[in-house]
Symmetry: C2
Subunit: 233 residues, 2 copies
DNA sequence: CGGCCGCTTGAACGTTTTCAAACTCCGTGG
DNA sequence: CCACGGAGTTTGAAAACGTTCAAGCGGCCG
C-alpha cells in the first residue's frame, strides 16, 4: 500500500494490445488516445465500489484486479479477475445501472480510464466495435451460467480443483510451474464460495494427492490431469 | 404432450410488443416479418439442446420456456425462464458459440423463430438495435452475478424464499394471489440448486409460517414481507 | 521486540443430502 | 367403470458434507 506512485510511461499506457480497440477507425482510436488517462495503482487500492455510478471504464495494461460482490455479512464473492488486455466497468455503463461489483487491485497495476460517455458513443456509432463488445458480454454470460451450474451442483472439492485450473488457464504458470497469481486462502475461498478453513484443508489434501505443491501463496501445479479429474470437467 | 398442434393466428405471431424490435427501421421490421416463422409448441417440447449450433433464435409470444444446463449426473440447473416479449438463443449466436443451455417448453407456447444470420446482420447494421441487445445482455450478466453471490453464500431456505419472490416479480400473481407459473417441486429444486426433498420440507415450513398456502403446484403468496425477510434481501 | 494478520489444525455442530418407503393423483387400457 | 401404472409428492431416519468456533503457530512490518 505504501509503494510510491509513479507516472507510467507512454508505452505502458498504450492501448495497442487491447483487441477491443482494434475495431476502431483511426480517427476513433485517435480520440480514445486523446481522452484516455493513465495511472499506476498499487495493491489494495479500490477502483470503484459496488453501487457507485460509473463515470469511467478501465483498461488493464498491467497487474491484476479482482472483481467481487459483497454479501450480507460482508463476505466477498469474487466474480472475476481482470488482467492485461481486459476492460472493466463497461457492463454497468452499457446497462445504465450502478456498479454491481467492487474492483480492487491485487497486483500492482497500470490502468487507463476513459469516460463512460465515450464508450456509449463508440458503441452507438461503430457497429463493428459494438459487435465485439457484445461478443465479450455474451461470452461472459456463458461463463457466468456455467459457474452457476458448478456452484449449485459440485462439491467444494470439485470446485476448488476447477478454480485452480481456471486460474492456470487465465494467468498461466511460470517456469517453475507455479501459478502466476498470488491469492490469500481467504480469496481462494471467496472464489469457490466456501470457508477459508475448507480451502486450507482441501489444498492440503491436494498436496497429499500430489496434485500440487504448496509454498505459502505459491501454488505449483504438479498433476493437471489429477486436478481435472477431481474437478469432474 | 398429446395436445394437437395448431397454426397460430396472424395476431398471435405479431412482434409488435417485443420492445427489442421497436428499434428497427420500418424497412428492417418488414424484413423481420418476412423472414419470421411462427409455430405452436406444447408443454414438454424441446426448442434446442445444449451443445447445438443455433440456426435460429426465438421470440416468445405466449407461454413459458425454461432454460437450463445439465450437470454431470444429469441433474438440471435452471438458469432462466422466458415469457412473452423475451427472446432466447441469441447469446450463443452473438458469441459465436454452441448453445450452452437447453430450452424446454413448460407452458404451451407460441414462438416466432428467425434465422441467426438475420440477428447478426441487424446487430452489425443497426447500432441502436445493437445497443438495445447489449443493454439486455449486460442486465442479464448483472443478474447472473447476483445469482452467483446468492447461491454461494445463502442457505437453501433463503434461496427458496428469494426464488419465490423472483417468480412473483417475473410472472405476477393472479386474482387469487397465486403464482402465475406452475412448477414441479423438482423444477423448483433445480432453480434453487438443491434436492427435491429439501424444497418440499422448506415449502411446508413456509406454510407453517403462514408465508404461503400450498395446493398442489399452486403456490399462493400470503406474506411477501415474511418471505422477503427470510430471503435476506 | 511486539503485535497483527494470515495460516493451520481439531472437534463439535448444523444443515442438507441421500435412501427408502408409502401415498396421491391422473390418464390409459382392459 | 375400475384396475393398473407411472410420475410427482411426502415423510422419516441416517449419513455426509461443510461450517463454525477455538486455539496455536509463524512470519512480516513497524
Amino acid at each position: 500500500m505504501k509503494k510510491k506512485k509513479y507516472t507510467p510511461s507512454e508505452e505502458e499506457c498504450s492501448l495497442q494490445n487491447h483487441p477491443i480497440f482494434q475495431r476502431l477507425t483511426d480517427e476513433e482510436f485517435e480520440l480514445v488516445n486523446y481522452e484516455k488517462k493513465c495511472d499506476f495503482f498499487s495493491r489494495g487500492e479500490i477502483l470503484y465500489h459496488e453501487g457507485k455510478r460509473m463515470s469511467d471504464f478501465y483498461c488493464v495494461n498491467k497487474g491484476i484486479v479482482k472483481i467481487y460482490k459483497t454479501g450480507i455479512d460482508g463476505k466477498e464473492q469474487i466474480i472475476a479477475f481482470a488482467k492485461q488486455g481486459n476492460i472493466l466497468g463497461y457492463r454497468s455503463i452499457l446497462s445504465d445501472e450502478s456498479a454491481c461489483t467492487t474492483a480492487k487491485i491485487i497486483e500492482d497495476a497500470v490502468l487507463c480510464f476513459l469516460p463512460s460517455q465515450l464508450l456509449v458513443d463508440l458503441v452507438k456509432k461503430n457497429a463493428s466495435f459494438s459487435y465485439e463488445i457484445m461478443k465479450l458480454t455474451c461470452q461472459e454470460l456463458g461463463e457466468a451460467n456455467s459457474y452457476i451450474l458448478d456452484i449449485a451442483q459440485k462439491t467444494v472439492r470439485e470446485r476448488l480443483a476447477e478454480v485452480l485450473i481456471l486460474l492456470k488457464n487465465k494467468f498461466g504458470l511460470d517456469e517453475n510451474k507455479t501459478l502466476n497469481i498470488s491469492l490469500t486462502r481467504e480469496e481462494l475461498a471467496n472464489i469457490v464460495g466456501t470457508a477459508t478453513e475448507s480451502v486450507i484443508r482441501l489444498l492440503s489434501e491436494f498436496k497429499d494427492d500430489d496434485f500440487v505443491e504448496l509454498n505459502g501463496r505459491k501454488i505449483k501445479i504438479l498433476d493437471l490431469q489429477g486436478l481435472t479429474k477431481t474437478a469432474s470437467f
